[in-house]
Amino acid sequence: MKKNSDTIYADNAATTWPKPQCVIESMRNFFFNVGANPGRSGHRMSVNSARILFDAREETAAFFGLDNSQNVVFTLNATHALNIAIRGIPKKEGHVIISSFEHNSVIRPLTYLKEKEKTTISVVPVDCKGNFDMTEFKKSFRDNTQFVVINHGSNVTGAIAPIRQIGHVCKEKKVPLIVDVAQTAGTIPINVKKDNIDILIFTGHKGLMGPQGTGGLCLNNESLQSFFHGGTGSSSQEERHPDFMPDKLEAGTPNIIGIAGLATGIKYLRSIGLNTIVEKEKFLIKKLINGLRDNDKIIIYGPDSRQERLGILSFNIKNKAADIVGDLLDKEFSIMTRVGLHCAPYAHKSIGTFPAGTVRLSLSFMNTENDIAKIVSAVNNIADRS
């Protein structure tokens, strides 16, 4: 997909852009040649639509190392999927463990449960560099701990949580682990079995290169109660919602045109190889940090240069509000960033930028070295103004 050459898009942690051409073509093909609802009618267009949905489940399962594609559930986004997971595990006066880097998509459903079901929550500290406090985590488990929710990659600092070690502890304690891979899917390799993830939550419109309105869950030997009930195209004679997967957790017509794009996005990632993406993003973020870190008016947050990080960088310019800097980057330099709290007030409290927030630059492998050079020049230019 050709983008406007003047625009530098550095808001990929919100939604990646541009998308690969093949993703757009697959959606175009669906729109013009398939069109119908999957699994709802007997004609060939509906069957073709069902084939696209099935293929998307198989692609997603294979991508995350899930054995059975029946346990891939499509939702509108990661927030929708997190609600299904968090509210799908029965709880009354239960206990949940999270990290201090969780997004509002975790905090808000849990706050609701805290008020309605007297759920108690332990928050494991993650420091400003992104180090997860494993000792505190191990001490947080109680007899009534029902699950653990961990954000794999911080959308604020780009820090990466040690999910394999966390998964290992959860397995020992026999407590299900929910991992939110919204920022990491399509950016770093994830395998539900190797990483001991019981419920994986993904979004389609970031690293997986699909469109907005796609996301889902992968259930690895875990079952959930459904709180959405409705039409599934199956067991239509029954008034009760089906209890078999995936229909159990999918009610109503899915975003099949979006799912067609998502499946093609995953195929695209597979064709170029995740390692190529990892290397490109590492290269770009390193170049970006190197271009900004020597300016003493620029404060960079998050992991040290020796630590692994995603292609995400939060910064502030001394004595300049984040919103002003973001606006200058847009209006004067055509650089798209996101400023503020990034729906993650907990994470900003952890790095000491609450409530003012930061300016966030987030890259994808579609960004170029030229983009980075222009961003570096623009940010330094704004910082050096009196």
């Binding site: 999957p38 699994g39 709802r40 009618s41 007997g42 004609h43 509906s46 069957v47 069902a50 084939r51 949905l53 099935f54 489940r57 198989e58 059975n68 594609s69 029946q70 599934t232 195209g233 199956s234 067991s235 239509s236 004679q237 089906p242 078999f244 997967m245 995936p246 229909d247």
Partner: protein, 69 residues
């Protein structure tokens, strides 16, 4: 003819994936109304292929019932 009936569209698609890897000729049809159906479509194959179909779909881990018509 035999009609293979499935709980959900997911299993129809999974069955098709298994059948595509063989030379079995199959046809996806709207489930006949006299067959109590869980799902809107079913798979029709020749009666003589019943044993082979059971073997293929068994390997593919697909749950289904068979109706002979």
């Amino acid at each position: 003819m035999i009609i293979l009936v499935f709980e959900s569209t997911y299993f129809i698609m999974k069955a098709e994936k298994g059948l595509k890897q063989t030379r079995i000729i199959y046809n996806i049809i709207p489930t006949p109304r006299d067959i109590s159906s869980d799902c809107g479509v079913a798979i029709k194959v020749a009666a003589g292929l019943e044993e082979r179909v059971i073997e293929v779909l068994g390997k593919a881990n697909v749950e289904f019932t068979i109706r002979r018509v």
